[in-house]
């Protein structure tokens, strides 16, 4: 009888769902085209297989990168403004203590994380989502600094000049990709979370 009288709880507000999927699409374009741009002058002793990249050649990749740049920046501003003004960040991502993050990460590794209430993030999730936001901010700032090392030279200087800004941009990308891989793996392990990012609702199960 429980199924018939299911209680639905609101998990993700509309703004968060819309910006999440626009962001997922935008980040995919930025990463795949960025890898092609990286290959034109690799910073490290490896290249990204061209099959994983977007654009077909350097100019094509640059076109994608500097088109999707507008998408993720505008989308990011909407998301951050909403998150701060509505109190979404304060409610969902905080409080956050290193001890709790460590404890929940261990639980996640043992497969013991609780997901009864999908509207409440555990500490490992909070840390991961906050880290993604910070990575994205560093990526946008370092990206602007590489694009405009004269007009925006003050930002380039913060990262230690043009060449070190390229390294920062790459490392922030690597960290973001790592977190996204873990994020997608967790969604596959707990598939119930997937439709909630589309419908915004979840059945209360506890």
């Amino acid at each position: 009888m429980e199924a018939a009288q299911a209680q639905w709880v609101k998990v993700h507000p509309l703004v968060v769902r819309v910006t999440h999927w626009i962001n997922a699409f935008g980040i995919l374009i930025m990463v795949a085209s960025g890898w092609r741009i990286y290959n034109a002058s690799p910073l490290f002793a490896f290249r990204i297989p061209n099959e994983l990249t977007l654009g077909g050649w350097l100019a094509g990749a640059l076109q994608w990168h500097f088109a999707a740049m507008w998408l993720i920046v505008i989308n990011g501003i909407v998301y951050l403004t909403y998150g701060i003004v509505s109190g979404h960040f304060r409610r969902k991502l905080f409080p956050l203590t290193p001890g709790a993050v460590f404890r929940d990460m261990l639980r996640a590794l043992r497969g013991q994380l609780a997901h009864e209430d999908l509207s409440v993030y555990n500490a490992a999730q909070r840390a991961a989502y906050l880290a993604i936001i910070l990575c994205a901010i560093v990526l946008v700032l370092s990206g602007l600094a590489i694009w405009k090392p004269v007009q925006l030279q003050e930002i380039t200087a913060i990262f230690g000049g043009y060449e070190s800004t390229r390294v920062v941009h790459f490392l922030a990308m690597a960290l973001l990709v790592l977190i996204v891989v873990v994020h997608v793996a967790m969604v596959i392990l707990v598939p119930r979370t997937f439709p909630t990012m589309i419908t915004g609702r979840a059945r209360r199960t506890s």
């Binding site: 009888m1 910073l43 094509g60 076109q63 997937f194 506890s206």
Partner: protein, 252 residues
């Protein structure tokens, strides 16, 4: 954990149904991931609609960069000790195929919206007031290198020949058949130099003898080498790489 909660919510249903729902959810997940992989794996860049969208965005970026360009903002200059040695050679051909221009017969041709179209010989150009800069050359490929260039301030040269500086573009054609063009605001920037010397030596062939336009506010491919002629115009001249898909403004 997942299973237990599933069963709680689907109490009364057969375990088979629960498993089938789980399978379906997993499939949905997998499919969406597959779609993502496909998007990056098979390149949609060649699609006509995508092409026109990307070109449109590139033109929008030309405009945005034009607005962002501050004519008084100077590119950072570096000490002699920061100069990159050896300075990289980069072109669409090999170093041994570098075009040799005969300096004795050389004449810079001027066309378009310029009052004094008399061609300039090298001694005449060398006789103009010269200045130097040590700036970072940034390639669209990503790498950068610091070099020292000397020559005449381009805005001084344009004033001297009576160029119409209210026009939009200046185009360049080069001895190696390369061609490009820049916006007037960048042409008039105080650090845009018509250079004849590199590292205090006469510009060697590989760096663009007899003359290279050095623009520290633009990417390397917007800095033409072996310049043979230039013109001022309101007609958009494009450029070799620009017409292939590289962003035209390409400002730093």
């Amino acid at each position: 954990m997942k299973k237990r909660t599933m069963e709680t919510s689907l109490a009364g249903h057969s375990p088979g149904l629960v498993r089938s729902i789980e399978r379906r959810l997993f499939l949905k997940q997998g499919l969406s991931l597959g779609a993502l992989a496909l998007l990056s794996g098979c390149d949609p860049t060649d699609d006509e609609g995508v092409q026109s969208l990307l070109k449109g965005m590139s033109r929008w970026n030309d405009r945005a960069q034009g607005w962002l360009f501050n004519p008084n903002k100077l590119a950072p200059e570096y000490p002699e000790s920061a100069i990159t040695k050896p300075f990289p050679f980069n072109a669409f051909y090999s170093e041994e195929e570098v075009t040799l221009v005969d300096g004795k017969d050389y004449k810079l041709e001027l066309e378009g919206l310029i009052r004094e179209k008399k061609p300039w010989t090298l001694p005449e150009l060398y006789g103009l007031p010269q200045t130097s800069q040590i700036t970072r050359h940034i390639c669209v490929e990503g790498w950068s290198a610091i070099g020292k260039w000397s020559g005449v301030r381009f805005s001084d040269f344009l004033a001297r020949v009576g160029a119409d500086t209210s026009a939009k573009y200046i185009g360049f054609t080069c001895a190696d058949d390369y061609y490009t063009s820049i916006d007037m605001a960048t042409a008039l920037h105080p650090q845009t130099l018509l250079t004849f010397r590199f590292a205090d030596q006469v510009l060697p062939p590989k760096y663009g003898f007899p003359m290279k336009l050095r623009i520290p506010t633009k990417l390397g491919f917007k800095n033409p080498k072996h310049i043979m002629s230039m013109f001022v115009s309101n007609e958009f001249p494009g450029g070799y790489w620009e017409d292939q898909g590289y962003n035209w403004f390409s400002g730093s």
